[in-house]
């Protein structure tokens, strides 16, 4: 009996020790997706990096896309540019734009790790390394390049193990990219939205416009668009088959914090004493009034004679907490260069080329809707797949139906990434018909947020449209452009307007 009791006792104490170690492990060492292969490679890579790879920038030209995109990534984001992209790095108020520099540095890092694993000295002319979808590189690209994944993540912190990986990978890329001049490193264990800020971001410091946050924009029976909240930008159109679609644009955020103050004055109550200045002297030196010496203030002790206090009703206090901004998109910003963006072929001709994808990835992403067909289909160059419908006739007749696809793509850009109160920001909206049939009754609606004030008569539209404004609940305006013509296949409309940041 005693033996069994002893056995149970020792088993229980072993369980205590095991759970204690687990407790320690759970608290100190975060459980996560620590990749042992990555850890080993990171130990190897930094030492070999500087010596083996002389010029990481030059290797990008020969490397095709080597990251398998995960299904959550939109088509524009997953693939780095195949063609070498001209890097633009300029000093605008000490800000450095990191576009292709960072991507090139990433590619360089991948090459180095592969080199470290294979222990080959010259990694510059190596063939495409095999990067599995589970490797951290593809995860990392999804993590910061892809706004869709970031939108899901919102502002929630990522488990710490992934933070460590991110931090270490950023460290490596920083060591590499310092050779090529990029300063995009973020070493923070906190949530990082890419090279934006190494300490993270506060969504309340951003002014956003675009998208459809509430996801509730729809058209009513009387042809009115409802569900457009503040900051929403949608386009509604009618296809040839008579279907009415509502397509939100992407979201554009501008860094524009604004501050206010709460003030309270405290006085002496009856029976107290206050010290107030009664008069003051400026001390005189031998030649002049010495303004560097503190003036001597003669203070008097005063007390209130009687107390007159207005007792305000406490019960009227209203807890009006501001709406917590939780699910905020990662800010998708455009460059400070509206002309460059206007010259992108996406904006001028409606074509999306590989070389411009990093500009768009830094800027705005055209929100495209993907619909899952019941048949497995392959999409080539953004053409919708053909559906094959079998007609079970005796002769074996096969009928091919081309889907009626009149589809609009709407892209929104801003010419400034950050703005002080009082500055003017120009927004650019581009709507393309990327479908297969013309669309009619196209109405673009932009509901401006409270702090954006539309500048009178600053809008231009490249096609004929009826422009209308109406006041919205936020104290700003709701702009709408009703195109007078149908948008045929391949046609587009470009709209520009200016807003002043309040």
């Amino acid at each position: 009996m005693n033996h069994s009791k002893q056995a149970i006792q020792s088993a229980a104490s072993a369980a205590v020790l095991a759970s204690a170690s687990l407790f320690v492990g759970g608290c100190v060492m975060p459980q996560g997706d620590a990749n042992p292969a990555l850890t080993v490679a990171q130990h190897l890579a930094p030492e070999n990096a500087i010596e083996t790879l002389p010029a990481p920038v030059t290797t990008v030209a020969a490397r095709p896309t080597n990251v398998t995109p995960s299904p959550t990534v939109g088509p524009v984001m997953a693939t780095p540019p195949a063609a070498p992209v001209q890097t633009v790095a300029y000093q605008d108020e000490d800000s450095v734009i990191q576009t292709a520099d960072f991507l090139q540095a990433e590619g360089a890092t991948k090459d180095l790790r592969q080199a470290a694993r294979d222990q080959q000295p010259a990694a510059a002319t190596k063939a495409t390394p095999n990067v599995t979808p589970n490797s951290p590189q593809s995860v990392r690209q999804v993590g910061w390049n892809d706004p869709i994944a970031a939108r899901r993540a919102g502002f929630a912190p990522v488990p710490a193990a992934r933070h460590d990986n991110l931090a270490q990978r950023h460290d490596n890329s920083c060591r590499e990219s310092s050779a090529s001049g990029c300063s995009c490193c973020s070493k923070s264990p906190y949530f990082t939205s890419g090279p934006w800020n190494q300490f993270g971001i506060d969504p309340n410091e951003f002014l956003c416009d675009g998208g459809d946050l509430g996801d509730n924009a729809h058209v009513r029976q009387d042809d009115k668009i409802v569900g457009i909240d503040l900051e929403d930008t949608v386009v509604r159109y009618t296809t040839e088959a008579g279907e009415i679609h509502v397509q939100p644009s992407n979201r554009v955020c501008i860094y524009a914090p604004r501050f206010a103050a709460v003030r309270r004055v405290t006085e002496a109550a009856a029976g107290g004493r206050i010290v107030a200045a009664q008069g003051y002297d400026l001390p005189e030196g031998p030649l002049r009034i010495d303004i560097n010496q503190p003036s001597s203030a003669v203070s008097s002790q005063d007390g209130p004679e009687r107390q007159v206090l207005a007792r305000t009703p406490d019960a009227m206090r209203e807890l009006n907490r501001g709406v917590p901004v939780e699910a905020v998109d990662q800010p998708l910003l455009a460059e400070d260069v509206l002309a460059v963006l206007a010259n992108l072929t996406l904006i001028t001709r409606g074509q999306l080329t590989e070389a411009e994808k990093p500009w768009l990835s830094k800027g705005a992403l055209a929100a495209e809707t993907w619909s899952l067909q019941e048949n497995v289909a392959v999409t080539v160059n953004e053409l919708k797949p053909f559906e094959q419908i079998h007609n079970a006739a005796a002769e074996g007749l096969t009928v091919y139906e081309f889907p009626d696809a009149g589809r609009l793509r709407i892209c929104k850009l801003a010419d400034k990434q950050n703005a002080l109160p009082g500055e003017i920001v120009t927004f650019l909206l581009r709507v393309d018909n990327v479908g297969d049939s013309p669309v009619r009754n196209v109405v673009l609606t932009d509901n401006l947020t409270t702090r954006l004030e539309y500048v009178e008569d600053s809008q231009t539209c490249s096609v004929g449209a009826v422009f209308d404004t109406e006041a919205n609940v936020g104290g700003s305006l709701r702009l709408s452009w009703k195109l007078t013509d149908t948008l045929k296949v391949g046609e587009s409309a470009s709209i520009r307007f200016q807003c002043k940041v309040r």
Partner: protein, 299 residues
């Protein structure tokens, strides 16, 4: 012999540790703001340094960050910060400085209109930081705006507490503003300004303006200056909002081709020249097309 720990006690410790370990990992996500009656741990009338010190110990690393701050006031008012117990002689009407988070700084206000010789010594306590994009921190300072009612109340012996907060853009007032017009509103004596500011946004600084003057006893000076924390003098950044009309963003980024900025001069009219003329400005072939003149910086 009795065992020191009973079986039940040991197994309950094991279960408790297991549960605790599991909870700890899942408690990394932020919680929602509390609803209902709450007791605020920190109030606006706490001594300077308490709220800032609490901020240093929680909710993310803000140490060693010099938060840019911009002092501004009515016309003629000048601000000066102290360095080593001595106020800087060159006070400025708009003082740009970088102040540490959680530290309390004593500054001096002079040049108060209609009160020659009056000097006030308020304190500013930075309790949170902003997260500007890299390189833009100097352009987005926290505005410490003192208006003439504060100066008047302080000189009459009252104490003014101003809590500066970052506005929530979804509940912002639709009033146009600039950096100099940081709006403030009053709350009554029964209300706590820090709590009200927390409801409306994120409090970032607390300013306390009273009529305290520097002590004559030198041993009391460190306490008057709250330890004299370090600060950085910053120069105000150029911003498009204060740029002169002829100078636009194109002059700061000349290597980026622009065609629609509106600052291009019109093409000179063709004038046939007969006879000798003074040589005009050299016609430099511009990569950005004819008519584009090199930018001139005028300030």
């Amino acid at each position: 012999m009795r065992k020191p720990y009973s079986l039940l006690w040991t197994s309950s410790i094991a279960l408790g540790l297991l549960a605790c370990g599991g909870e700890r990992v899942s408690a990394q996500l932020p919680g929602s703001p509390p609803t209902g009656a709450t007791h605020q741990l920190f109030r606006g009338d706490m001594p300077p340094g308490v709220v800032g010190g609490a901020r240093l110990q929680r909710r993310g690393a803000v140490q060693n960050y010099y938060q840019p701050v911009r002092f501004s006031g009515p016309d003629g008012v000048r601000f000066a910060l102290a360095d080593g117990g001595v106020f800087q002689p060159n006070s400025e009407p708009q003082l740009h400085a970088g102040l540490l988070i959680g530290a309390v700084y004593r500054f001096k206000i002079t040049g108060i209109p209609n009160e020659p010789g009056l000097e006030l010594f308020p304190t500013v306590e930075i309790i949170d930081r902003t997260y500007p994009p890299p390189g833009q921190a100097n352009r987005f300072p926290i505005p410490i705006n003192i208006d003439r009612f504060d100066l008047q109340d302080a000189s009459e012996g009252r104490m003014v507490t101003r809590v500066v907060y970052l506005e929530d853009p979804t509940t912002a007032l639709p009033l146009p503003e600039t950096l100099d017009t940081a709006r403030s509103f009053d709350v009554s004596q029964q209300q706590d300004p820090l709590e009200v500011a927390d409801q409306l946004g994120r409090p970032v600084a607390i300013i306390r303006i009273g009529s305290l003057t520097p002590p004559n006893e030198p041993s009391l000076l460190p306490r008057f200056f709250f330890g004299g924390p370090p600060w950085l003098l910053m120069t105000p950044a150029r911003s498009a909002a204060v740029a002169t009309p002829g100078e636009g963003a194109v002059t700061r980024t000349p290597h980026i081709p622009r065609t629609d900025d509106g600052t291009l001069e019109p093409q000179p009219m063709y004038r046939p020249s007969f006879g000798p003329q003074a040589p005009g400005p050299p016609q430099i072939a511009s990569p950005y097309g004819p008519g584009y003149s090199t930018p001139t910086y005028q300030r």
